[in-house]
């Protein structure tokens, strides 16, 4: 043993001395040109358009590799990308409502093919059930068989209101869509470009290498147009097969068909390791959107499910942008990191509390007979008392602020803080009834209302029971929300319970045995009509059986054209109804945190998808 150590010591000393001469000082770290973005879920496909693959990571990669007519910024504004093209409503004879999209001249795909109106036609194939049926591609509404283009685009307002096929202008640069009625959300229903010549090359010609001749590529595009116009079932089926299946790969290397990755975004897919990462490199031909800063040559999406692991990877400089919904401890740990900036913000989701009024509009089981049933004065008073005593401010202060110090209580069912019209709605809806004073004064007011019907009501009297339905028990924050609410409501004599059913809770939303429910809505777009389903008497998301003709009337207005001022007035009126009927209160927006390498400039997290990556062209070192 001794001998071995001596030998090793000698050998090591000798080697050390020898290697001294050959030592090279480590080079200074080269200027960084890579941004590594953390995603909590792994990529499953390079086509985020099918019902199976419409997942955040897939669509984020799609956002960097493809640029269309508009995008959301970090303040929920829809920005027109005029570099790519312009769009607007036009008068077309014989059409109720028409929108024209024009691609700017000179835009090119990454293989050099010019982009024009033909590239906008695929969107119609992906969203019109009528086209799918007419072209023999299958009925998307059929519950047993997938359509040939297995698209998640069917079934929306585009599908139900589009008239005929899009009209291509004679110079092929514009496409005009005709709807059978005014579409309040027309701006987010429009087409996006797709490199249709590559679909033709892969699906019909079975090519697996880029086509070098530009004349051939233009011929392929013309072939697509011919197939589209003649509804060539065989060709479209072959292309649908490619579109639906061939993009569902998670490994990309030199052997992967490069035709799959022709795009017009600032970056293009270079390689991918299944379950680990996707690497994108700069698109040398990019001219379809805002100019790149030029300092970033590579963007890598790295998939890390565990948030602590992601935070440590940030500390070790393995990732540059971390985003997630950490706990208060997690935020403290991030704040302690050197060379890391953090921005507190909100995600798209907001928590809300609904009170049951009647049988659910949506297959409700039995008639609701609990304390809140109906529109009688007693039910309204008890609902008001319940909402008054519900400790929203306390929940925000104790559970949300430690993560996002800017968090506030949300006071509108239609708009979120910061959105145009929110402040007006809060002022005009009379929601101050539920926000004025402190928890103590609000509880006192609630107790007074309850005493009208339960004279013996006092703290701990359990005068009546409210059965509250809420999310999965594994969610600690929701468990804490429930605990806080249970205590505070106990102070006004309400016995808050939760008799089972929290597992698979969403399946119980329509059950009348629950008097109230809290969970989150997660709108992914800003839509004029998106909330209608929540409060229309027959709305698919009206689980609480709210039935008000006044409300239906206001919501009906939202389906027609409204000026911004009219819109604000509508929302205020609707919120006012909800307050006076004591139906629902929003609680808070889910907090989100973005932490990033402080050397990286212009990271601006956004609440709507594509969240952090929305302004990737501005990133710079």
């Amino acid at each position: 043993m001794k001998a071995s150590r001596v030998i090793r010591a000698l050998a090591i000393a000798a080697t050390g001395a020898l290697s001294l001469s050959g030592l090279v000082a480590p080079a200074d770290a080269a200027t960084r040109s890579t941004v590594v973005v953390h995603e909590s879920n792994a990529l499953t496909s390079f086509n985020g358009g099918t019902p199976d693959t419409n997942l955040v990571t897939n669509t984020d990669v799609g956002y960097l590799t493809g640029m269309g007519f508009n995008y959301y910024d970090n303040k929920r504004n829809l920005i027109h990308n005029t570099t790519f093209g312009t769009y607007g409503t036009v008068k077309v004879s014989g059409c109720v409502f028409a929108v024209k999209y024009t691609v700017a001249k000179g835009r090119v795909w990454s293989d050099g093919t010019p982009i024009d109106g033909v590239d906008l036609l695929l969107s119609h194939v992906l969203a019109s059930s009528k086209y799918s049926k007419d072209a023999g591609l299958g009925d998307p509404g059929n519950a047993n068989v997938n359509p040939k283009f297995y698209s998640g685009g069917y079934g929306g307002p585009y599908d139900s209101h589009i008239v005929g096929n899009p009209t291509l202008s004679s110079d092929h640069m514009s496409v005009t869509l005709c709807y059978d009625a005014f579409q309040p959300d027309w701006e987010i229903m429009g087409p996006g470009p797709a490199p249709v010549h590559t679909l033709e090359e892969m699906g019909v010609q079975h090519k697996s290498a880029l086509v070098t001749s530009s004349a051939d590529r233009l011929a392929d595009k013309a072939a697509f147009l011919a197939d589209f116009n003649s509804q060539n079932t065989a060709h479209l089926t072959a292309m649908g097969d490619v579109w639906s299946n061939d993009y569902n790969i998670t490994t990309v290397n030199n052997n992967t068909n490069p035709l799959l990755f022709v795009g017009n975004g600032g970056f293009l897919v270079d390689s991918a390791v299944s379950g680990q990462s996707v690497t994108l490199t700069k698109n040398a031909r990019y001219n379809s959107g805002p100019a790149l800063s030029g300092k970033v040559n590579t963007v890598i999406f790295k998939f890390i499910g565990d948030s602590t692991a992601a935070a440590q990877a940030l500390a070790n400089k393995e990732i540059d942008i971390y985003s997630g919904q950490p706990t208060a401890d997690g935020v403290a740990a991030l704040q302690a990191l050197k060379g890391v900036k953090i921005i507190g913000g909100t995600s798209a989701c907001f928590e809300h509390l609904d009170v049951r009024i009647g049988k659910s509009a949506n297959d409700g089981d039995t008639a609701y007979t609990g304390p809140f049933a109906g529109m009688t004065q007693r039910a309204k008073d008890l609902r008001t008392a319940f909402l008054l005593a519900y400790p929203r401010q306390e929940i925000v202060d104790t559970l949300v602020k430690p993560v996002n110090s800017n968090a506030v209580v949300v006071n509108s069912a239609f708009l979120l803080p910061g959105q145009a019209g929110y402040d007006a709605s809060v002022k005009g809806s009379g929601v101050s009834k539920f926000t004025a004073g402190t928890q103590t004064t609000r509880a006192a007011a609630a107790l007074k209302l309850i005493k009208k019907y339960y004279p013996k009501a006092k703290a701990g009297s359990n005068s009546f029971t409210v059965n509250l339905l809420w999310g999965a028990p594994s969610n600690t924050r929701r468990a804490n929300e429930f605990a806080i609410a249970q205590y505070e409501l106990g102070q006004v004599g309400i016995n808050l319970t939760n008799s089972g059913g929290t597992s698979g809770w969403s399946g119980h939303l329509d059950e009348s045995k629950y008097d109230a429910q809290f969970y989150a809505w997660c709108p992914s777009t800003v839509s004029q009509t998106g909330t209608n389903a929540n409060f229309q008497h027959d709305g698919s998301n009206n689980h609480i059986g709210y039935n008000s003709s006044a409300m239906d009337k206001i919501l009906k207005k939202l389906e027609a054209f409204q000026t911004p001022a009219q819109l604000a007035a509508d929302y205020t009126a609707a919120d006012k109804l909800l307050v006076s009927d004591a139906v629902t209160l929003s609680i808070f927006q889910h907090p989100a945190v973005t932490a990033y390498n402080s050397a990286l400039k212009n990271v601006k997290p956004a609440p709507l998808t594509p969240n952090t990556v929305w302004n990737y062209w501005e990133w710079s070192y």
């Binding site: 030998i7 090591i12 050390g16 499910g305 400089k317």
Partner: protein, 517 residues
């Protein structure tokens, strides 16, 4: 024997069917896959619910759906996940990852655990025994996610920070010196004088080595070179000879020395071969080299020994293999400086997570470099392996220690000693071998558990293996995926149970399998 096997296997099938039926139905009742969609405010909500219901066959009641699923299993259709991926594809992608992650850790845990177990048994009730028992149980009882967080903090983030100016400061020199001194003194043992001598020699030499490495800035660009390879090879040859035959066995000693010398002679020619392998990597060449080394070692032993050839050949084979390993390691280490200084590593070589460096992977695609790829993989696997090993070797330590102590107290050991066998022969050949028999049960279980994955470890280190699939399946109520993973792991578990019973009877002549009559 055959009836026994048939009976056991039919039992296993019943167990598998019953347990899968239970798990399937419990999971189907436990959660609603449509949960997320039901609270969606998307205008296409109805269509989306139709799509998912169709895909997952949710309109069929779970018990009936189970039999549909079971029918699919026999025809190779394991269903699709929620995300529309084939369960078979997902699992066949996850298995290699999991094996890569867990196999090394399991083998290291077994080797280290048994080695430490043997030493603690031989030094029973010494301070070393108590210290090792304490430490192994400390790690055993720590939660892995916490161990992983600490490992990342110190050995990844901390180590990478330290690499910016890799100096071993005096307090650390003293600390490592003391640690090495106490450790080796404890392992070798003896009277006070011996303990002090060994402790101080080990401590001082450790300090000297670290000091030399630190002053020469070796840590900044660590390489082995032929001198390190030969020095460490000689050390390993010495250790192997001591454990295998004892230093007194002259042919064995000479074989070991010959293997080290041969390693030195072949060092430069091998570099040429490695340069070829760099771009034309073929795994079989490396495997062939390993077998070649073992063969050469055994052959040399055969010629050096005139009688009792087996132990000599064994020594030769082991030393040759180890020296070969050192030469390979040396080649991989030659990539260190270019790797660490590259743009994509930026002087932070130890990653906290992942299976490989993303940019390197993209680069290797067009510029293959087998050795740098290997270095990258090794650096990525090192922390999870340490974490898994730390929490699992305690079991082996305790089992080995207990078994060895029990065997050492048996009459035949006394007889062996009485007939004048050397202590080494008594322990290694008569006691140690027999003490390993009960360990086979444990090993069979551990190897079956490998494919179950390491649920938390995989998630913390962001590896997508079986554990990740299992976790994802439970979180998303992804029944087909869950059942696919469950089927693989439960089948292996029951087979391991059977295998350990059979192995036991093969190894221990006192045990016979039969129908129990």
């Amino acid at each position: 024997m055959l009836t026994y096997l048939a009976r056991r296997i039919s039992q296993l099938i019943v167990i598998l069917l019953g347990s899968s039926f239970l798990v399937f139905n419990l999971e189907a009742i436990a959660g609603d896959p449509l949960e997320e969609l039901k609270t969606s405010s998307d205008p296409r909500k109805a269509q989306m619910i139709i799509d998912l219901t169709r895909k997952l066959d949710l309109n069929t009641p779970p018990p009936i759906r189970y039999f549909k699923w079971l029918g699919g299993i026999f025809t190779g259709h394991w269903g699709v996940t929620r995300d529309g991926q084939s369960v078979v594809a997902e699992i066949s992608q996850a298995i290699p990852t999991t094996v890569r992650l867990v196999l090394a850790a399991t083998i290291i845990a077994i080797l280290v655990g048994i080695a430490i177990g043997v030493v603690t048994a031989l030094r029973q009730y010494s301070r070393f025994d108590y210290a090792v028992t304490f430490i192994s149980f400390l790690f055993f009882s720590l939660p892995i996610f916490w161990v992983a967080v600490l490992l990342k903090q110190f050995f990844s983030i901390g180590f990478n920070d330290w690499l910016a100016d890799p100096q071993v400061t005096t307090p650390w020199l003293i600390f490592f010196g003391l640690l090495a001194g106490v450790f080796w003194a404890g392992v070798i043992g003896g009277d006070l004088k011996r303990v002090l001598t060994i402790g101080s020699v080990a401590g001082v030499s450790t300090v000297a080595i670290l000091w030399a490495l630190s002053v020469t800035k070796w840590f900044g660009s660590p390489t082995l070179g032929i001198f390190f390879v030969l020095g460490m090879g000689a050390g390993l040859a010495l250790l192997t000879t001591v454990a295998s035959t004892g230093l007194g066995n002259k042919p064995s000693r000479n074989t070991a020395i010959a293997m080290v010398v041969l390693g030195g002679v072949l060092y430069y020619p091998l570099q040429a071969l490695f340069a070829f392998l760099k771009t034309n990597y073929n795994g079989w060449i490396v495997v062939g080299l390993a077998f070649g080394a073992i063969g050469v070692g055994a052959l040399t032993g055969f010629f050096f020994a005139k009688e009792d050839r087996k132990p000599v050949m064994r020594t030769g084979a082991i030393v040759a293999f180890l020296v070969g390993l050192l030469i390979l390691l040396d080649r991989v280490m030659q990539e260190w400086s270019p790797y660490v200084n590259s743009d994509f590593v930026s002087n932070r070589p130890i990653p906290t997570l992942g299976q490989s460096n993303d940019e390197l992977v993209a680069q290797l695609d067009s510029h293959p470099n087998f050795w740098m790829g290997t270095l990258d993989s090794l650096l990525h696997i090192i922390l999870p392996t340490i974490a898994l090993t730390l929490i699992s070797f305690a079991g082996y330590v305790r089992y080995t220690r207990g078994n060895l102590l029990e065997v050492l107290n048996q009459d035949y050991i006394r007889t062996a000693r009485a007939k004048g066998l050397s202590e080494r022969t008594v322990i290694m050949r008569h006691a140690f071998r027999n003490s390993l028999i009960p360990l086979t049960t444990l090993m069979a279980w551990d190897f079956a558990g490998i494919l179950g994955g390491a649920i938390i470890t995989e998630s913390v280190f962001s590896w997508v293996g079986m554990g990740t699939l299992f976790r994802r399946a439970i979180v998303a109520f992804d029944l087909n995926l869950l059942m696919g993973v469950f089927l693989i792991t439960s089948t292996l578990a029951v087979l391991a149970n059977l295998a350990s019973d059979l192995l036991y009877s093969a190894l221990d002549p006192r045990i016979r399998v039969g129908n129990g009559n």
